[in-house]
Structures are given as C-alpha cells and as structure tokens.
Symmetry: C2
Subunit: 136 residues, 2 copies
DNA sequence: CTGTGTGCAAACACTTTGCAGGTGT
DNA sequence: ACACCTGCAAAGTGTTTGCACACAG
C-alpha cells in the first residue's frame, strides 16, 4: 500500500506534506517526533502545516499519536493501516525512542461494576534492546 | 496519617499550600486537576506556587501525576502513601474524571528479547459507573 | 473553477526561570 | 538567622486561529 493510495482511500487530497508524512512514518520502525519527521522529509513545511496535517491524518485514523510524560509526542502508523491490532507502546528511557510492540497485545482488565471500557493505552518504560547491548 | 505528618516524614517545610494540596488530594476519591484543587483550597495561590508545590510533592512521591491525551493533567495520592500498589487509571470520556483503580493491578507484559521494563502505565478510557447510571 | 491546503503572523495556553521579599524551623 | 517558599513579571515552548494566496481535483 502506497501513501497515495491511503490518501485516496480516505478521500483526502494528495498534498506533498501529507504524502511525505505517511511515507516517512510507514518506513520507520519507530514512532517519530515532528522533528524526526521533518528531517526525513524532502520539502520544508511550516509548523502549522504539520499540526494540521497530523490532525487530519489522525482523525482519519491513518496515524496515531503516542504521548510520553506529557511532553514527548510521537507518531506512528495506525492499526487500521498496519492491521496489527491494539498493542502496547514501549518508551526507552535511554534513547528516548518509542516503539509499537506489535507482538505485545493489550491485556484485558477487569473493571469494577458499572464501568465500561472503550480503549486501553499501555505504555511500558524501560531500556530497549539496542541500548541494552551498548551497556555490555 | 495527616498532611502535616506526611510533610514532616519527608523533611519538607510545612506551608499552607503544600498542606492544603495534600489534604484536598487525600480526601478526594478522584484525581484532581490544578483548578479542581484550587477550588477546594482555602487560600489563594499563584500558579507558579502550584507548579512548584506539585513538583516538590511529586519528587518526594507524595502525589503522582496522571496525564490524559497530552492536555488533561490530574494529581492523586501516590502509592507510597496509600500503600495500594501499582494500579491502572481510568479516564471517563463523559465526565472527564480520572480515577485510580486500586483494585485493578497492572498486568505483566512479556517483552521481546533484550527489552527490560521498569515501569508500566495503563490508562483505560471509557464510561464510569456514575455516568453510566445517568444514561439509564 | 471551487474547495481545501499552506505559510505567515499573531494569539493563546501551559510551564519555567529570575529575583525580591516573606515565612518556617 | 538562615534556608527555602512565595508572588510577580517575563521568557520559553507547544499549539491554535485568521487571513491571503496557492494548489488539487
């Protein structure tokens, strides 16, 4: 699936900014921050444009946002595109990377009577395999 | 355990702001935002003072911060005070409340090789028992 | 051609920092 | 008395909004 097709499928206009964001995020094995995305894009875009593009892509469930500690914001391809289901996110304290743990499904939590759950977010913090190696 | 004792135990000076925050948070069954805390406090305090007080109390593990969707910030008594262990947090989409699910322990997630976890945050979003009743 | 996306400037909200003066111990 | 807390002003940062122009369909 190409970025252009994704945009078409969602009836979104094909603009270089949107297309670029999707491509960059699609290739990356990690969730990326606005700046990391900017670095990998060919054109140069205003911050406002990024914000609006992220918002649009998020609303159409093309990408999803992961927030760590109220300040670090990263984006990754959404489940509806990857078809990998709901998963936990991993944040590495050492290298600040965020990874979608496709193989770590969200577990079911038993809530008290009267509570109904719609969505569960799991963020695991620790050291990723890359950073662990470097410590040895 | 009174608020004053908690401050003493952590070698923190007893100021009305800190004492008030702890008392309000301790009584509440829900996590509270800065404004919700302000409303229940007797004195009036500058935002800066709040920020610094929250920071201090957080660093001493007297309260902990829960962030929903990168914008909604709430505070609750920390585990080390309540002695109730790590638990999931519940966010009600209807009334915007955040509750500590003392009875919902964090489950163990099996990470890929090389990853080590230090801390796991679980935020369950849905409808709380209060809001469910009102719909009936 | 028409509606939508983009860039720029300005506004806004949250948080942090510096400093002078006040308070707890 | 001294260290530290507080309030105020200002700066810093992330995000949103209004508007004119550009571009996709």
């Amino acid at each position: 699936m190409k970025a252009v097709d994704i945009l078409n499928n969602h009836n979104l206009k094909r603009t270089s900014c949107r297309e670029g964001i999707i491509e960059v995020v699609m290739i990356s094995r990690q969730a990326l921050s606005e700046n990391e995305i900017r670095e990998q894009l060919v054109g140069n875009y205003d911050r406002t444009t990024f914000y609006r593009s992220f918002k649009t892509l998020e609303e159409h469930k093309i990408i999803h946002k992961i927030v760590v500690d109220n300040q670090c914001v990263k984006y990754a391809l959404d489940n509806t595109i990857t078809h990998k289901g709901e998963h936990a996110h991993f944040y590495c304290n050492t290298c600040d990377s965020v990874q979608c743990m496709d193989k770590v499904p969200i577990q079911k939590y038993q809530l008290p009577d009267g509570y109904s759950d719609i969505e569960t977010e799991v963020l695991i913090k620790g050291t990723c395999s890359n950073c662990k190696q470097e410590n040895n």
